[in-house]
């Protein structure tokens, strides 16, 4: 079972599309792997929809545009093309092994760059998603370790497949963890390898846009 989940706030911002591109990928991949967070995101979307469309003060709704003209434009329009033309590749091959990619990563497999080898049985490949943050696959072979380190800003890590440990816990498939810049840790594997994705996160803008729709529910959501 998945033990470590993104925060409520991360799920809200994911549903609103207001995280950084790297964090949208991270949270989206966790949601793919976690039925509980999936159900949760559906609830959040439902709340946001209710807030957006449940406008009861009809005074706020101005019929301030030519509805008839827009209707006619829509009736005579072509069906919009879906921009996701890239063939999804749902597997990743590395060190002679095949790893199944969760749907969010599979849909974005064309963004995965070249793998490069790092010292200590580690491999890394960038995932190019735009934005200020770095998103990388990190693969740790068996008996591998990273030296103790801290980060500038937050670091989010998600286990795609395998197991690793740090001083605090053991992390398995689907586990999502967020470390702030005060956090020191030394991840290591034992007799199992581990494929993760990791995002180094810049400052977030929490208070804008769609997520504001949830303000009236914040006592429910931001426990």
């Amino acid at each position: 079972m998945i033990k470590f989940h993104p925060s409520e706030q991360h799920l809200v911002l994911y549903a609103a599309g207001e995280l950084s591109p790297a964090m949208l990928m991270m949270v989206g991949t966790h949601v793919d792997m976690c039925p509980k967070c999936q159900a949760h995101v559906q609830d959040i979307e439902q709340h946001m929809a209710a807030k957006l469309f449940g406008e009861t003060e009809t005074a706020n709704i101005v019929h301030g545009f030519d509805e008839q003209a827009m209707l006619q434009t829509i009736f005579s329009s072509q069906s919009p093309a879906v921009s996701a033309a890239q063939a999804a590749n749902d597997s990743l091959f590395l060190e002679g092994q095949r790893f199944a990619l969760p749907p969010t990563l599979a849909r974005n497999s064309h963004r995965i760059g070249e793998w490069s080898r790092l010292p200590g049985k580690l491999w890394r490949a960038p995932v190019r998603v735009g934005g200020e943050e770095m998103l990388n696959f990190i693969y740790m072979g068996e008996q591998a370790s990273l030296p103790e380190h801290t980060h500038k800003g937050n670091e989010a890590t998600l286990v795609v497949n395998g197991v690793f440990n740090d001083e605090h816990n053991e992390y398995r498939d689907g586990d999502f963890m967020l470390l702030d810049d005060h956090h020191k840790h030394s991840p290591a594997t034992q007799d199992h390898d581990c494929l993760t994705i990791a995002a180094l996160e810049g400052p977030l803008h929490f208070t804008t846009g769609l997520s504001r729709l949830l303000n009236p529910f914040s006592s429910l959501f931001f426990k």
Partner: protein, 193 residues
């Protein structure tokens, strides 16, 4: 004639079904008159720009018109589906003029508008064995009538119409039992830590 408005979820879902099945302009116009002004009011507040706001309304409602067949009533309300389309359009509009090659598109993140192979196991990621076992336990907590419908659909793979025929109950009843059962299952999953 019913006096239902599109703010009634059942009615909104029926309108979408009519648009999908027979390209009913009347059904779409009714949905449009309810949702478009609300989207417009919201988008104007969001963008502070009339033209971008109108683009959001038009692109969202154009997708509703052409893609109504992708709406899955068991998965959420019509309003939620339309919200997720608007969310995707907004996401892309905010990036549209930046022309950065690597930028994510909304379809890459939330495949709301992808033509899928529409399998039932898509709905709640039922492809996980562990989850299946757990779900079986949860199913036993459902009222008998709902459990029967869920078993026929999700285990025997019958369509909702086939279930209606087999049990000699109206299709609408099958749909509402399915929805209530999925809702109940969702609650059970969420409250089980």
């Amino acid at each position: 004639m019913s006096s239902a408005q599109p703010d009634n979820p059942e009615h909104a879902a029926e309108l979408l079904a009519k648009i999908a099945a027979e390209q009913s302009r009347a059904a779409f116009s009714e949905l449009f008159r309810y949702f478009a002004p609300r989207l417009q009011a919201y988008a104007t507040r969001q963008f502070g720009n009339e033209q971008t706001a109108m683009d959001l309304v038009q692109e969202t409602m154009t997708n509703v018109w052409h893609k109504a067949h992708l709406f899955k009533p068991d998965r959420g309300s019509a309003a939620t589906w339309i919200f997720t389309i608007a969310r995707n359009i907004r996401f892309d509009l905010l990036r549209k003029n930046k022309h950065r090659q690597n930028d994510l598109s909304a379809d890459d993140l939330w495949p709301v508008l992808a033509e899928t192979n529409d399998s039932l196991d898509d709905d709640y990621a039922l492809d996980n064995d562990l989850l299946m076992q757990q779900l079986a336990v949860y199913c036993e907590q459902l009222p008998k009538a709902q459990r029967t419908v869920i078993e026929l659909i999700y285990i025997e793979g019958k369509s909702q119409q086939e279930v209606a025929d087999a049990l000699e109950i109206p299709l609408g009843t099958v749909k509402s039992r399915t929805r209530l059962a999925l809702q109940k299952l969702k609650e059970l999953i969420q409250h089980d830590d």
